[in-house]
Symmetry: C2
Subunit: 278 residues, 2 copies
């Protein structure tokens, strides 16, 4: 028996498999029931012909509220009725967690819900493929930035976020009490990066949070944001910096286009990689 | 003319090159002077036969205080007197920054200086190959952890560091004023990771700072530390978690042994990768 982590990778050759996920939808047609089971990677159809599966299982599994979490073991069969070209005929299942009813919001419902409802039920909001896709693309982007800068000799560093003073003028700082001394949350790793240049570690980068105590009426707050920050020594002119930034951006866009194909499709977005030099 | 970023990669075939770095040491022998120039990757010897190089350059460059920063252009010549098997005969140089004298501490001196002196001059302390090696190994370790977890389907996330409450009991929190509300620095991404499990992003990891307001008399403070934190769904038992941790640690140790060879040699350390299962 194979445990499947990625429903989109199941094949008919797998034979008996265990799949695990969320009951996205159930259709009870009398003599046959269908369940769409969703995992991180996609959905797979569970097909339950009433006469061929265990009656107890049939009675209970087909009544589960949407978004209940189950592990299902069954036989993979070819099917020309499903997107994956296969379906699973369950022989047993484990109910990991039964969803409450009614759900505070739907996952695949076309009906829009208020932003407040979404944020108050963020754990469900992220079950929507288009929201998950954003998280996945973001993680890819971090990986791609790292690839580009490491390839170019940048060393990853982690600089202190609790600072004795601000690094730049102008930005408002969050103050904290560091035992008997006042301290501030870092609004930028600027000074640390510059000092690192004088150590001879001539190219460094950091990926981490930065904090600015600025009120804002947009949903792009700077109070806490993830900052990619790089510093390089020995540059002759600003053109060199621009070329490096181009190299990084080009690698990120090209990479997202290739590796994020599925996610971009879900979002209905396309990436056009600009010709270099920008 | 080739600009060399990595002194250890110079070859005689490079012809005329520009190298850039710190004057580590100067020996003036009368008719000939030698300068050891250090960059991030190692050192290269500049050889100045008095009669063969520009007299003005000879007079000034050989008098530069140690740790001055220079860019030097010259011809690469084979030499059996140096570790690299080559030396550079400078034809011109640019003084980027002249070091003050006396230096607050040496970089290659065998004499130990007090910890306070080292910390007060941390930019110089990091010029020591054995201190730089620690930074380099740390960056490699981050890369290796990421490789191992990404390979195993973990998605990188960044969770908020400014929290409305603590995530675990017991840990002391740093309090900050978040505009008109009190808030706390995150001592762990625990709750966020767990909620992410319920979104269906079934394996996540974070690499970032965590904060605990605990006084300590050791040099291993937890007030601010970089935490690798992972969470995985669908585990059958603790053995599965142990195996995953083994996979990560094994990849990190094996990788450091291979990629960190030079750094481990500088530190005089060896890595023994334990047989699995641990």
């Amino acid at each position: 028996m194979t445990v499947i982590r990625d429903s989109s990778s199941i094949t008919v050759d797998d034979g008996t498999v265990t799949v695990r996920g969320w009951v996205q939808d159930t259709r009870n047609m009398g003599g046959i029931s269908f369940i769409v089971l969703r995992d991180r990677h996609g959905t797979v159809q569970l097909t339950l012909p009433k006469k061929k599966v265990d009656p107890d299982m049939f009675a209970t599994i087909t009544k589960l509220p949407r978004e209940s979490v189950i592990s299902v073991t069954g036989e993979v069969k070819a099917s020309n009725q499903t997107e994956l070209g296969l379906e699973i005929i369950p022989s047993s299942y484990v109910l990991e967690s039964e969803a409450g009813t009614p759900l505070p919001m739907g996952v695949i419902d076309k009906v829009n819900v208020e932003m407040d409802t979404r944020l108050n039920n963020r754990f469900m909001d992220l079950r929507k493929p288009e929201i998950r896709a954003v998280f996945e693309l973001k993680a890819m982007m971090v990986e791609l930035i790292e690839e580009a800068v490491r390839e170019n000799g940048f060393i990853q560093v982690y600089t202190p976020k609790i600072n004795a003073a601000g690094a730049e003028g102008g930005a408002e700082l969050f103050k904290i009490q560091y035992f008997d001394k006042p301290a501030f949350l870092a609004q930028s790793p600027q000074l640390y990066k510059q000092i690192l240049m004088s150590t001879g570690l001539d190219r460094v980068f950091e990926l981490g949070p930065a904090f600015r105590a600025e009120q804002s009426n947009t949903n792009r707050l700077v109070t806490e944001f993830i900052s990619f920050d790089g510093e390089m020594s020995w540059i002759e002119n600003e053109e060199e910096v621009m070329r490096m930034i181009e190299t990084i951006i080009d690698h990120v866009l090209t990479g997202l286009k290739e590796r994020g194909k599925k996610q971009l499709e879900i979002l209905g977005k396309e990436i056009t990689v600009p010709a270099r030099p920008y």
